[in-house]
């Protein structure tokens, strides 16, 4: 019952945050660090709440794109291309209905593989030994280096920067390392909220500050909503294609579905059409194809995130931090002893999608009033909450140190945005830094080169990596 209640609350919160331009699920989850302390002893409730926030936020993203032509996040930008022209034509209810129905349907379809994989994972885990996990981690670095950002060199620099940041604290034998004479603060390593808050929240607020918002009044039209639902089903080809692309990109460790919406948009535009409206002028197919990606990519990202503790997307990097903070050891097989954990994930995921779709369809008018809030108020509020999130994770024991670190990483975030250096790559490097170091030592201590190179899963991952290197331009999308 509590899971249902907190999924509902998370859905409302996520939708409201998601609607705000430039604030996607990553930023919404970062803000949750400020309230995670209130969930002391309520881990499962928080699990449901935070997952619902991530899911509903990505559906909420579409609102800003459709109504004001400023996407909630990078991913929703593709929806905006055809969504905003429909709003200008007075068909906003139709556009939003098409978007949320597609996103919801594909989200529900693509969670099925996750549900199938979970019960058999404990049998499969015996094949995942140190060499296999090491290879998967290295593969995730490769995938994020090759697929994000305009330059591979810059992405590699980003990954290495992240690894460097992750090495602050202690070495594998627990000896202090890079503690800068202040082990009480640095020994346990930097908090993920400081790095993610600095890299993502603050620079995005600058983007919002510079954006020009022209609000268009919403008058809920139930005929348009009904037609949107019908067309979302009729356009199943584009929708399913979006779902498949989203799920695939979500599965790629570290990459997630960021901007895969554009790939779906591009391929979807080549499929057989049911409407004649040109793309970019309000084509329903142009909304359905990218929206199919949205939640399907989240379902895909849940698999590496929960099974291996290797985040499947940028939002998953933050949610791992949150879940570990509240006490779940993500990637630990012992977690699979905990039926309540798995059930909460599945229930919360499904429930938040269903609730978000229903709320979005019925209360679109009320929700869009959030877009009228002065952007300066939004910016100040988010900055305050980000700062609060940062200082609260250390239980207010290191307010000065945490604040200084946030400033440093905000500057880094601005620099990355300016020079188009992949911020997700930095975050991934940071998160996997200790793992890659530990597994490298374990590999050296336990295996010979010959033993490593004769393992089937290792060979399969290496082959997959080679295919990715060879075809990198086909998969590549920009997200910095």
């Amino acid at each position: 019952m509590d899971v249902i209640l907190y999924s509902f609350l998370g859905t409302i919160f996520g939708l409201m945050i998601g609607i705000i331009p430039s604030v996607g699920s990553t930023k919404a989850l970062i803000l949750l660090f400020s309230i995670v302390g209130f969930f002391d002893g309520m881990q499962y409730e928080f699990l449901a709440f935070s997952l619902a926030v991530a899911i509903s936020c990505s559906i909420g993203d579409s609102f800003a794109g459709v109504y004001i032509g400023v996407p909630g996040s990078n991913g929703a930008a593709a929806t905006m291309v055809d969504g905003f022209p429909l709003t200008k034509k007075g068909k906003s209810s139709y556009a939003i209905s098409l978007a949320v129905t597609t996103s919801g349907l594909q989200g529900l379809i693509w969670i099925i593989p996750f549900i199938i994989v979970i019960p058999i994972y404990l049998d499969f885990v015996k094949y995942l030994k140190v060499p296999e996990i090491w290879c998967i981690i290295v593969f995730s670095f490769l995938s994020i280096s090759l697929l994000t950002g305009p330059s591979i060199i810059k992405s590699i620099i980003a990954v290495l920067t992240g690894i460097g940041l992750g090495s602050i604290g202690s070495d594998v034998l627990s000896n202090p390392r890079f503690t800068f004479g202040h082990p009480d603060y640095f020994y346990d390593g930097l908090q993920i909220v400081i790095i993610s808050g600095g890299l993502f929240c603050i620079p995005e607020m600058m983007k919002l500050y510079k954006s020009n918002i022209n609000y268009m009044t919403e008058n809920t039209n139930f005929n348009q909503i009904r037609q949107g639902v019908i067309d979302a089903i009729r356009l199943w080809r584009q929708s399913f294609l979006g779902g498949a692309i989203g799920f695939f990109y979500g599965l790629l460790p570290g990459y997630g579905g960021n901007s895969a919406e554009w790939i779906s948009y591009s391929i979807g535009s080549k499929l057989k059409r049911k409407f004649n409206t040109p793309f970019g002028k309000g084509a329903p197919e142009g909304i359905v194809a990218p929206e199919g990606v949205s939640n399907a990519s989240k379902a895909g990202a849940l698999i590496p995130t929960i099974l291996l503790g290797i985040p499947g997307a940028t939002w998953a990097m933050v949610i791992i931090g949150l879940w570990e903070f509240i006490g779940f050891s993500i990637g630990d097989v012992e977690l699979f002893n905990d039926d309540k954990f798995i059930n909460t994930i599945i229930i919360s995921y499904i429930l938040s999608i269903v609730l978000t779709v229903i709320i979005s369809l019925l209360l679109a008018k009320q929700l869009t009033t959030l877009l009228k809030i002065n952007k300066n108020i939004i910016i100040i509020t988010i900055l305050m909450f980000t700062w609060w999130a940062v200082i609260s994770t250390n239980f207010y024991n290191f307010i000065i140190e945490d604040t200084l670190a946030l400033i440093v990483f905000s500057i880094l975030g601005f620099a990355c945005k300016l020079y188009k250096i992949s911020r997700p790559a930095i975050l991934l490097g940071f998160i996997l830094s200790s793992k890659v170091e530990a597994y490298t030592y374990q590999l050296i201590d336990l295996y010979t080169l010959e033993q490593i190179l004769t393992r089937p899963i290792v060979l399969a991952v290496m082959m997959l990596a080679s295919i990715m290197v060879y075809n990198r331009n086909k998969f590549k999308v920009d997200y910095v």
Binding site: D40, K126, K129, D184, Y187, F328, V333, F395, N397, A438
Partner: protein
């Protein structure tokens, strides 16, 4: 409307703020984040039932938690010693890891002799091996997860394969030859690596052994090699684990069966020192000496021990280990310091530095 809101807020403030100020909340300081670690689970379980057993007339109205993470728990210990201990509303949650850190590392003057123990709840750790493992021929592969607190298991399995109980030089040479310490294994990974056969030796609590699904699945392939013997702190005598399922596997007995002589000597004493500190102070509540809430806390803890529902949950989650409260708990402190000699500590420090590879030092202040 706005005016009404302000009036309401101020009125509520007048009612609640004094209530908050005068309520005697006892803060249990947990030197970590609120993760579901053994320490946090233990503190939450005790806290939950202690709150139910607060007696009439007690100054304490509630027991709540404060988290002070950092420096692998040492920040919390240091801050308690430096700042929190003088506040009557604070008590520290201390664990086996904190005890080992107090023995071997700098914890800013944190010292059990300066505080009054309210509850001491000892525990035990079990060392499982694969059934196929032959200590004479197979390399012993052990994990080191860098979290500290696992020194007694490394020490003991080292002694099992290198029975030089009185010669640290021979012991260390043999240890390095027969045992591979696999670096960088986290506490969560070590279970999978052990069950996958990548590690020969495991490390698990009683509760984990009995309830972990993965371990249950592999029960036909693994067995308990030994566990640490447990001290009765009232008598100072060593004995077996109190739980029937694990009896007959105490280190000293298994060692004698394996090597034909009782373990004794300087290296053995150093091992005993680490196991006594780690297991004896496995989970504890301490307050500063002269804290005005000592009597209330002891009374609450004693009532909690009489609570049948607590007993059920305690046995299930924390094992059937005895609990020492008040004066009995002070006996635990006396015993652990009695075992502390400069020679034993020096050998333990050498073992950790050279055998396990992380830097610790002999703390002179422990002998003052």
């Amino acid at each position: 409307m706005f005016k009404k809101f302000i009036i309401l807020t101020v009125t509520l403030g007048f009612i609640f703020i004094p209530a908050l100020v005068f309520a005697e909340t006892m803060w249990a300081i947990i030197p970590s984040q609120p993760k579901k670690s053994g320490m946090v689970k233990w503190a939450w379980t005790w806290g939950k039932y202690m709150n139910k057993n607060i007696h009439e007339g007690s100054k304490i109205t509630k027991i709540d938690f404060k988290y002070v993470p950092g420096n692998r728990g040492k920040t919390g210990l240091k801050q308690f010693e430096r700042e929190f201990k003088t506040d009557n509303s604070n008590m520290i949650v201390s664990t086996g890891g904190a005890a080992t850190a107090t023995l071997l590392e700098d914890v800013g003057g944190y010292d059990f002799r300066k505080y009054t123990p309210i509850v001491i709840h000892p525990g035990n750790m079990f060392v499982p091996v694969h059934k196929s493992y032959n200590p004479n021929t197979d390399k012993n592969l052990q994990a080191i997860n860098g979290n500290g607190g696992s020194e007694p298991e490394h020490f003991a399995s080292g002694l099992m394969v290198c029975p030089y109980t009185n010669d640290i030089n021979k012991f260390l040479t043999c240890f390095k030859e027969k045992i591979t310490i696999v670096r960088g294994v986290s506490s969560k990974e070590r279970h999978v690596m052990f069950l996958n056969g990548e590690l020969t030796v495991g490390r698990i609590s009683a509760n984990g052994w009995l309830s972990n699904k993965l371990y249950k699945k592999h029960k036909n392939k693994i067995r308990i090699w030994f566990h640490h013997c447990q001290m009765n702190f009232k008598t100072g005598q060593w004995g077996d684990d109190p739980q029937k399922e694990f009896q007959g596997k105490c280190f000293d007995d298994i060692f004698e069966k394996t090597h034909g002589f009782k373990p004794a000597g300087k290296v053995y004493d150093a091992y005993v020192l680490t196991r006594l500190w780690r297991d004896g102070l496995q989970k504890t509540f301490f307050v500063n000496k002269n804290n005005e809430n000592i009597n209330d806390l002891i009374k609450i803890a004693e009532s909690t021990m009489q609570d049948k529902s607590f007993e059920k949950e305690r046995f299930k989650k924390l094992g059937k280990y005895p609990v020492y409260i008040g004066k009995d708990a002070e006996l635990v402190i006396q015993q652990i310091y009695k075992a502390l000699t400069k020679e034993s500590l020096t050998i333990a420090v050498r073992f950790v530095n050279e055998g396990l590879g992380y830097k610790v030092s002999v703390k002179e202040e422990l002998f003052k």
